[in-house]
């Protein structure tokens, strides 16, 4: 236990924790959306994120940047970021939709039991990760340092960098946008209707399969954005990069209340910060341990997570 060091670093640990938590939260949205509608844990979602990191990297490489490139000028930077964002988001969304069409929809047509979905989800995750593993020789890849970190201001002695603000800002914007979309738009109403009662929604004229597809697209888009932020901040990817992020994001979704969009944000930020505090207090080897202990303890007292389980329920 290093209390002195811990309290000294408290503000810095909080900020870096929030930043990591924001990425967890964006990935957690994918789990939560799919669960809310299908009552299915889409384990392949971690690979949806992984595909995003790779496609963004390939886009940058196609534009002529590699891990040794200096940071480009503002105009070129903006193009690179936007191109990476669009490609990553599209690739992730396509991957998510492919998984739905290939792995889940045929099972749904045959009324397969929930366990079969779980196994196909894990299978789809392995197939995606391993095919990228084989294709990339399981090598780690470094990325161009597009946005060099610069300290903008300090809070209680902790430096806040431009990249951290971008990550938190983008996450909040995506979050609010998605929340409004689900709560206000026509398509969002469809999602909530199917989440509440799929059969009744179908009788009312909601196309269930289209809603499910939409949910996978939204989850994939969020994962693609998370992948881009990940690339900008951590600058690294590998075929199994999704595994740990996916696990953490899933934990974050459960922590906040799976099926609940705002819960995913809360859970993600909480998990990111808690992990960092644990690493600061007990040492880096306790980081993952603490995150999951937190999850278990919280679920003992609030089995449905912090904000409860509701995509359609409360605010129908």
């Amino acid at each position: 236990m290093n209390f002195d060091e811990f309290f000294g670093n408290f503000p810095a640990l909080t900020i870096t924790g929030l930043e990591q938590g924001a990425i967890y939260a964006l990935v957690a949205l994918g789990y939560t959306l799919v669960y809310g509608v299908l009552r299915l844990i889409n384990f392949a979602h971690s690979e949806v994120f992984m595909v995003g990191t790779f496609t963004a990297l390939w886009t940058w490489e196609a534009l002529g940047y590699n891990q040794n490139s200096p940071s480009p000028a503002f105009g070129a930077l903006l193009i690179a970021l936007l191109a990476g964002l669009v490609v990553a988001a599209l690739a992730s969304a396509v991957t998510a939709v492919t998984v739905e069409l290939v792995a889940y929809r045929p099972l749904r047509k045959r009324n397969a039991p929930p366990l079969a979905f779980l196994i196909t989800a894990i299978g789809a995750s392995f197939v995606l990760a391993e095919s990228f593993g084989i294709g990339t020789s399981r090598a780690p890849f470094g990325m161009p340092n597009l946005i060099p970190q610069e300290t903008l201001f300090t809070v209680f002695g902790a430096a806040v960098t431009n990249v951290q603000l971008i990550i938190l800002g983008v996450t909040l914007v995506m979050m609010v946008g998605l929340d409004q979309f689900v709560n206000r738009s026509r398509l969002g109403r469809g999602i909530r209707a199917v989440a509440q009662d799929a059969d009744t929604a179908a009788l009312m004229g909601v196309n269930k399969n289209r809603v499910i597809l939409l949910v996978f697209v939204l989850g994939g888009l969020m994962a693609g954005v998370a992948a881009l932020l990940w690339n900008v901040r951590y600058g690294y990817t590998k075929f199994n990069v999704g595994f740990l992020i996916g696990l953490k994001a899933f934990a974050a979704a459960v922590l906040g209340g799976i099926g609940n969009l705002r819960g995913a944000l809360l859970g993600g930020l909480l998990l990111g910060v808690a992990e960092n505090y644990a690493a600061g207090l007990f040492g880096g080897d306790w980081k993952d341990f603490t995150g999951f202990v937190l999850l278990v303890v919280l679920l003992m007292f609030r089995p449905t997570g912090l904000l409860g389980e509701s995509l359609g329920r409360a605010r129908a």
Binding site: G17, A139, G142
Partner: protein, 390 residues
Amino acid sequence: MRQKLARVLGGIAISALVFGGAAACKADSGSEGGGGSNAACDLKIGFFGPLTGDAAGLGIHMRNGTKLAIDQYNKENADCKVNLTEYDSQGDPAKAPALAQQAVGDQKVVGIIGPAFSGESEVADPIFDEAGLPIITPSATRPSLSTKGWKIFHRGVGNDTSQGPAAGRYIKDVLKAEKVYVVDDQSAYGAGLKDEVKKVIGASVVGEDKIQVKQTNFSAVSTRIISSGATVLFFGGYYTEAGLLLKQLKGAGWKGTMVAGDGVNDANFIKVAGEAVAEGTILTCPCAPATAAKGTFLTDYKAAFDNAEPGTYADVSYDITKIMLEGIKAGKATRADLLSFIKSYNKAGTATGVTYKFEGTGELDPAQVIVWAFKVNAGKVVPDVEIPKA
């Protein structure tokens, strides 16, 4: 139906036994009457190490060194070849036992180059020991490997009781660091190396942390390193985590120098971290620079592998493979014969110039151990100095 299947399977099993036995007999007779020389034919040397995965960069150079030696041997002995069998452990101790069993089960495998890493050695070597299958590792440097009483164990390089203190002396005498932070990855190799370094620089260690293999977010440890005021970071572990840690640490504004061991001494470290971040990093190795190897090794290696520069331990792997090949050439066709051949070996390697003579424990003769410091300069790992013995 099931009965039928069982019968078919049984039939296949029996015929496999018969043919396998026949093939084995043939190999035996071949080894006795192999033409003019008494060299044994059709035997296999196994390479055991990571060829894919996080640390594959290190394994591939060693495999290439071994492959080069075997290819050259086969060119000279075209009628009596030795085959290379690869056991890709991905550097993962969990995958090692099954692969070791596989190697042990193949009677044609008479020797193993590897296992490349210390963690996998700890689980694979007991299996090799039980089967009496001789090994020479080009790179597993955890000191305790030679103290377990494995008769088959040989180490073609120095261990971390030479590398660790040398890295410590470099930090103390060359970098003259007063505040050093130490981090390890909790692997058999990384934690052991860090302990050896700490013994030398004990007083100037201002903090210590552990990370996990496959960890990607190092923000907490970066915060701790920066707030400790350390100017040097020693990292015990492998290149992927080292690259990520340094990238995030420098991204957060750290200006110091990282020092790490042979597990980071690879071009892939620069690939993960990026040239600008990696610049100035010090990497040690209980070996001489492979790019300055003696004889024709450098040109042969480049010719064989697309003009690639030999990486860490490529030359060592080449030389220790030649020890085994020499044994096979001299007619040591069984594992036991080859083992005693290696134990009594005493000759200089053509690439490293090191005299390979093993102590009873399987350690390289201490007089032969050298430790070099390398430096990352403009995107390349270049030799810096040979670190003097204490």
